[in-house]
C-alpha cells in the first residue's frame, strides 16, 4: 500500500490538535497532520502506511493521535523510532507500529507490503526488503486480538464463562 512519508519528531498536537479534542474521532481525524500536510486526511486511503523518522508521536498521552490514523484506515506505522507513550497507545489500539532503522529508504508514494508478524517490509516500488525490529510477543498477541479493549473483552468473557 502507498507510503506517506514524514520527518522526525512528528508530535501528537499535529496528529490530534488540541482544539478538536472535545469532538468525536471522526472529526479529529479530519485534522490529522493538517499542520504539516493539509492534504493528508482527505487523500489517505485505507491500507496506506505512515512512515517517519525518529520519535514519531512525541508529546501527549492522547490516544486520539493513533486513533485518528487508525480511523483514516492507516494499516501500519513505520518509523526509525517511536515516542514510548505513543507506541504503547498505538499497540493498545491494535495499530502495528514497526521500528525500522532503514525507514528513510522509503519514498513518498512507494508501494509497500508490511508483515508485522515477520517484522518485514517489502517495497514493491524499489524491490527492496527492509527489516524491522519484531514487536514483542505479548504485544503482538494484543495486535492480533485487535487491541487491548478486544483483548480484555476476550479475557473477561473467558473468566465469566
Amino acid at each position: 500500500m502507498r507510503a506517506w512519508v514524514f520527518g522526525d519528531n512528528v508530535d501528537t498536537d499535529v496528529l490530534a490538535p488540541g482544539r478538536y479534542m472535545k469532538l468525536p474521532i471522526e472529526e479529529i481525524a479530519k485534522h490529522c497532520l493538517e499542520a504539516i500536510d493539509p492534504s493528508f486526511a482527505a487523500a489517505v486511503r485505507p491500507g496506506d502506511i505512515v512512515v517517519a523518522g525518529r520519535n514519531f508521536g512525541a508529546g501527549s498521552s492522547r490516544e486520539q493521535a493513533p486513533a485518528a490514523l487508525r480511523h483514516l484506515g492507516v494499516a501500519a506505522l513505520v518509523a526509525e523510532s517511536f515516542a514510548g507513550l505513543f507506541y504503547r497507545n498505538a499497540i493498545n489500539l491494535g495499530l502495528p507500529a514497526l521500528v525500522c532503522q532503514q525507514a528513510r529508504r522509503i519514498r513518498p508514494g512507494d508501494s509497500l507490503t508490511v508483515n508485522a508478524e515477520a517484522g518485514e517490509i517489502q517495497n514493491l516500488t524499489t524491490g527492496e526488503t527492509l527489516a524491522c525490529e519484531p514487536i514483542p510477543a505479548h504485544l503482538m498477541q494484543m495486535v492480533r486480538d485487535g487491541g487491548l479493549l478486544a483483548h480484555l473483552e476476550k479475557r473477561c468473557n473467558t473468566t465469566s464463562s
Binding site: 520519535n55 501527549s60 498521552s61 515516542a83 473477561c156
Partner: protein, 413 residues
Amino acid sequence: MSQTLAQKLVARAAGRSSVAPGEIVTCKVDLAMMHDSSGPRRVKPMLERLGAKVWDPGKVVVITDHYLPAYDDESRNIIRIAREWVREAGIDSFYDAQGICHIVLPERGHLRPGMFVVGGDSHSPTGGAFAAYMFGVGATEMLGVLVTGEIWLKVPHTIAMEFAGKLGAGVSAKDVMLFLIGRFGLDGGQYQAVEYRGDAIRELSMQERMTLCNMTAELGGQVGLIASDSVTREFLKTEIEIWESDADAPLLAHHRFNAGELPPQVAAPHSPANTKAVHEFRDVKPNLAYIGACTGAKLEDLRMASRILKGRKSKIRLLVAPASLRDQQSAEREGTLQVLLDAGAELLANSCGMCAGYGEHLLPEKAVAISTTARNFKGRMGAASAQVYLASPYTVAASAVAGRVCDPREMLA
C-alpha cells in the same frame, strides 16, 4: 546486586526483590490518576462494553482541569460525565476545578515515596519528584489498569543527570530542563528513567523538582525521578521512606553539569528542543506573555515572576493562570498575586487552559508569545502561524516588562 531508584520502585510494584533493565514485568498499580479529557468520558463507555467495574475505587483519583472553565456544550458535557461517573464508580477522591492534576495530586497528599502510579496524561512523570514511579498512559491503557489493577512495563535503564553546585540567581528548574532537552533532544530520554541528582537538585524546593520531572516528558523519558530526602518530608509533612539509587548501580549514561554555569534558556518555535541561551533572542519582541500550566504557574513559579514584576509594569498582554486554586490562594495571602496584578496581569482559571489549546483562549494568527508552558509545537496553543517561545517564569516576566526577550538577571537587584 546494586539497583537504581527506578529498578527498586519497579521491583517493589512487581513483587520482586530485584529486576533487570530490559525485562518485561507486570506491576501492581498503587494509584491511578485521570483528568476530564482522557478519563471518564473515554473509560466509561469501554468499562460498560466490558461489563467491568473499577478494580479498587479507593486507588483512583479524578481531577477536572482540561475543559475548565467549560465554555460550550461539548466541554460542559465532558465535565458533566466526569462528575457523574465518579459517583457511579464510587470514587471519593474527586477534585473538581481545584487546579491542574499534576499539582493537585501531591498537594492533596496522594503521593508518597515508593509508590507505583499511572496517570492519564503525558506530564504524569511530575510525580517522580516524590520518588514515586509515575508515568503517563493513554485512555485504553488506563482502562486496562482500571479493570485489572496491573500494567506491563519494560524495566528501564537509568540516565543520570547530575548537577553540581547551585543554580545562579534568576535561573530555575525550567532553564535546566530546556537546556537538557536542547542538548539531548525530544527523544534524549529514550523512554528510560531519567534521574536528577547532585547538590543543585538537593537544593531545589519540591515544586521546582516537580518542574524537572514534569518536563521529562519533553525529554522523552518514561519517568523522571528524584530520590526522597528531607525536602520531600517537609513538603509532605509526614514521615517518609527514603528511596534512592545504590551508589554503584549501573547507569545507561551519567551526564555531569555545573549548575552555576547555566544561563537562562529559551526554546524557539516550534520545539522545546530548539533551545539557546536567553541572550541569543534579544531581537524577539513578543506581544503576549503567558504564565500558566503545571510546569510554569505553581506558587514557586508565581513567586519567581513576582520578584521581577515587583514595582514594574508589563508592556505587553500578560496572562496568568495559577496552576492550582490552593497555590493561587497562597499567592494571594502572601501578596505575590497582587504584585502580578499590579504589573498588569489578567488572571485566568486554574486549569490547563492555553497550554493545551483546549479552552476558549487560543493564540491568534501571527501571535508571538513567550510562555512558561512545556510545549511549543506548531499550532498547539492556537493558530499554526503563532510563534511560541518557552522560558522560565523569571524570563517570561522580564520579557513582558522589556517588551522583548530579556535576561531576567538584568532586573534582579
